[in-house]
């Protein structure tokens, strides 16, 4: 059951702030999406789950170092930076 609390919680997980009217607007939309997944209920119980869509296995890389990107490049798209760090909001 999708209600306002579920929408609020999902919004929090996505770190999105929703206004009260938006919370209400999303209830039927969420419900519709969830209903779509009920198609999976038709799958027989003894069907092995599919974890990956191709047959590849054991694709590895050797432990050989490669050059990192120059720091200017790394920070190029950052809206806020300070002394070579990215700058973000406080987290607690």
């Amino acid at each position: 059951m999708i209600d306002e609390n579920v929408v609020r919680h999902v919004a929090w997980l996505a770190r999105i702030q929703l206004e009260e009217d938006e919370l209400k607007k999303f209830i039927p939309q969420f419900t519709k999406i969830l209903e779509y997944f009920s198609i999976l209920d038709e799958v027989q119980e003894d069907v092995e789950p599919l974890y990956h869509v191709n047959e590849l296995k054991n694709v590895f890389r050797d432990d050989e170092p490669e050059d990192p990107l120059p720091r200017d490049e790394i920070l190029r798209n950052a809206p806020k930076k300070e002394n070579g760090y990215f700058r973000g909001p406080r987290i607690v």
Binding site: H52, V59, D62, D63, V92
Partner: protein, 472 residues
Amino acid sequence: MRVLIGLEVHVQLNKLKTKMFCGTPTSYQHAPPNTHVCPVCLGLPGAMPTINMKAVEAAVKVALALNAKVQENTMFYRKNYFYPDLPRGFQISQYDFPIGKDGYVIIDGDEGEKKVRIKRVHMEEDPGRLVHVGRIDKAKYTLIDYNRSGMPLLEIVTEPDMNSPKEARAFVSKLRTILEYLDVFDGSLEGAMRVDANVSIEGGSRVEIKNISSFRGVEKALAFEITRQKNLLRRGQQAKMETRHFDESQEITVSLRVKEEESDYRYFPEPDLPPMNLKGWTERIKAELPELPDARRERLIAQYGISVEHAKVLTGERVLADYFEKVASKTSPKLAATWIADVLKGELNYRDMRIEGCFSPENMVELLELLEKDLISDKAAVMIIRRMLDEGGRPKEIMEKEGLQKIKEDILPGVVESVIEENEKAVRDYLSGKREAINYLVGQVMKKVRGRADASKVYNLLERRLNEIDNN
């Protein structure tokens, strides 16, 4: 009130050359921020991860050393959450099918040896590092360094089998020892091992403490938390289920804001990384496993006849056990065990030094030989060890320079006798009235005992003996 502690230990496989899913070098220690980063570990759209095979081998090694069952079919998952240290918005981790399950580690518990069960061992990538400006709950903003992002990490999860902060510490230190024996881990590097602890007082709710990053910290954080929970109980309150952050500098735990629950992470198989089938790996890697601490301890006891306590201390660090064996092969093993485990280790700890920075085993052998030949006292030997640690030098040199040789009172008459025999002329001079000749003889005795005697005592001994000769 019984206390239950379970640990989640995060261990960097920092002996590897490159990160978990990209070729970025792992050598970021002391490097300026964001200098060890590439599109993959920065989480740029379209950048594709590939699995470092050596990291998987190291994980198998660890799983085996922890007596866990290696899962032949294993794979990575995405753990989804938003946090500034996680540039992709998800962490590549494991969920179902972790690399290792159901192991155990034997530790020295409060009531003797005890088995701590390992629930699972899984591989994942390290997030970046957040730098809080000020205290975590008071900071205005956060600085982010992604050098650590993508470091190969193992998470080792125990059952709640520890019953005191001391046992938790014993587990963590035993784990470190095992990892160092496996040569997959350097625990001296900052942030190499981080611990989250679950603690509850039996019947109460579980509190998770995050971000403990030192051995001492494990004990401190848990002790603080247990006291806090007991105080709550005493006031008739219950600790509420929550996540708390350990503030290492203030040695307190502080409550963190609500955290995601497991279902919130929306784990699903990582589509960019094919699954792994490790058929044959266990056998191959098992055959290459080095001797582990418990086995080595048993061998040292059997092979060298040293005490259990000494063997425990010595095998507590692989390099220390190596050092001991080098010394023990050239001198009395029991003497070596006593001096390395009891004295040297203490002196190193006092100086916050590790055995890597200690003087050579050859110097230790030389010192023990001086002891065996009864040339120095125990006290002098300790002084020589201190001197070598602080200033360098060799035992014999220091002994001679500092005049630390032992002189037994009862050998003095013998030395006096031989000096009298060897210096007939001086004796004749003395007997014929040149009394100052005795000073020369005193000098000769002192030379023979390398200064380790009281000159006035030598003078008296000589005088008495010469007078006896005179009277005969």
